[in-house]
Subunit: 217 residues, 2 copies
Amino acid sequence: MAHPAARTRSLREDCLREALAIIDEAGVEGLSLREVARRLGVSHQAPYKHFPSRDHLLAEVVRRAFAAFARHLDDRPRGENPADDLAALGRAYLAYAREHPLPYRLMFGTPLPDPAHHPEMMRSARHAFALLRDCLDRMGADGSKGVPSEATDLDALFVWSAVHGLASILQTGALSTLGLPPAVLASSPSHTLLRIGAALGAEGDPGDGQSGNDQPL
Amino acid sequence: MAHPAARTRSLREDCLREALAIIDEAGVEGLSLREVARRLGVSHQAPYKHFPSRDHLLAEVVRRAFAAFARHLDDRPRGENPADDLAALGRAYLAYAREHPLPYRLMFGTPLPDPAHHPEMMRSARHAFALLRDCLDRMGADGSKGVPSEATDLDALFVWSAVHGLASILQTGALSTLGLPPAVLASSPSHTLLRIGAALGAEGDPGDGQSGNDQPL
DNA sequence: GCTGGATGTTGACAGTGTCAACCGGGGCCG
DNA sequence: CGGCCCCGGTTGACACTGTCAACATCCAGC
């Protein structure tokens, strides 16, 4: 198989791999098509045969990051009841951020190409959010199942805000400039998940009187 | 250049003002010292007499954004009791993000120059965080006042995560790609603050001996 | 065999940050 | 007063970037 196709595809894949390596070493800012080409030993225009522009290359890298992220969330150990499952989702989210800082920062911590121009980029992102919404929907398992209500959307947004906010704060190194002790840093994920659980379990909305459910995360 | 020396002293300020305008129009990526110089009608090297590098100019712009932000939080209407004050702080935070999207995005939504190289940049950021910590410290007004404990740090981090996460999500336009209804968008800030209050109010003291918590992600 | 499209190459152009050299003028000091 | 030097400004260069255009292959399908 002197695969014509295999060869052609290889440069495209090589570009993506090399791009990730460059971003790892030099940050998104350091990514340049010419550097990619140089490292791969091809001419500075070769990558243009596979990506219309630098942003298209970056968008594809990001798209794959989102896809891998969504897959990671999909593959989480499912919790028994909805509350446990939400906790599992939160742990999976933070674990991914911790174990794959590079793709995570790519998704949430760097300036992305305009999503309007790269629609495919956010497909998996939407899927990941849907996971969260479904999980919350099952949690408030009253009549309105199947159709995520506005209340569910709001809670999903809240949970996502808290988890995403923590993950991004932990990553930007903002903490080092804030001078927080390492112990705080270490236990902040579990503490945040605990607080989220409290927020969702404690109160309730006026309608559902089942206040007994305060399973901590 | 026929202009006398009257203006010369203000070139530094002019650069900063013009830089902000450029960032407003073209984003941080569009900021270039040459463009600043061009707009001000000076040579492309003139700004270098006031800023050692492009990043130093950007760092100063960001520093002022943080300073204005901290000032805005300082000037918030103080709440009666600590809980109300926390809510006021949250509202002030989100209001600033909404009313001054440009500086806000500058602080939290764009790649900043390495804080290690620009220490002054984060000074006001630390001050803003201290405000939050103090507020929470007064809230859990048991004996340990004055010395923010680890628990206070953790809660401060949680609150900041949630608020910052929401603000940044609202700004990046990630929501538009998620297809959430506008009504959800509109009420998300107040809902998030509500949930935060619930999380903190639900249980004052979880008897948390969980400082040695090391594997919980 | 010829054609055509995918792939890769070289060459150019405008734009960027930044270093180096030069230069006018005003304050300071001998 | 004369000389000096530094401050703020200038011009000129260099290396780097993305991207357009034209040219060279090679392989598939008619």
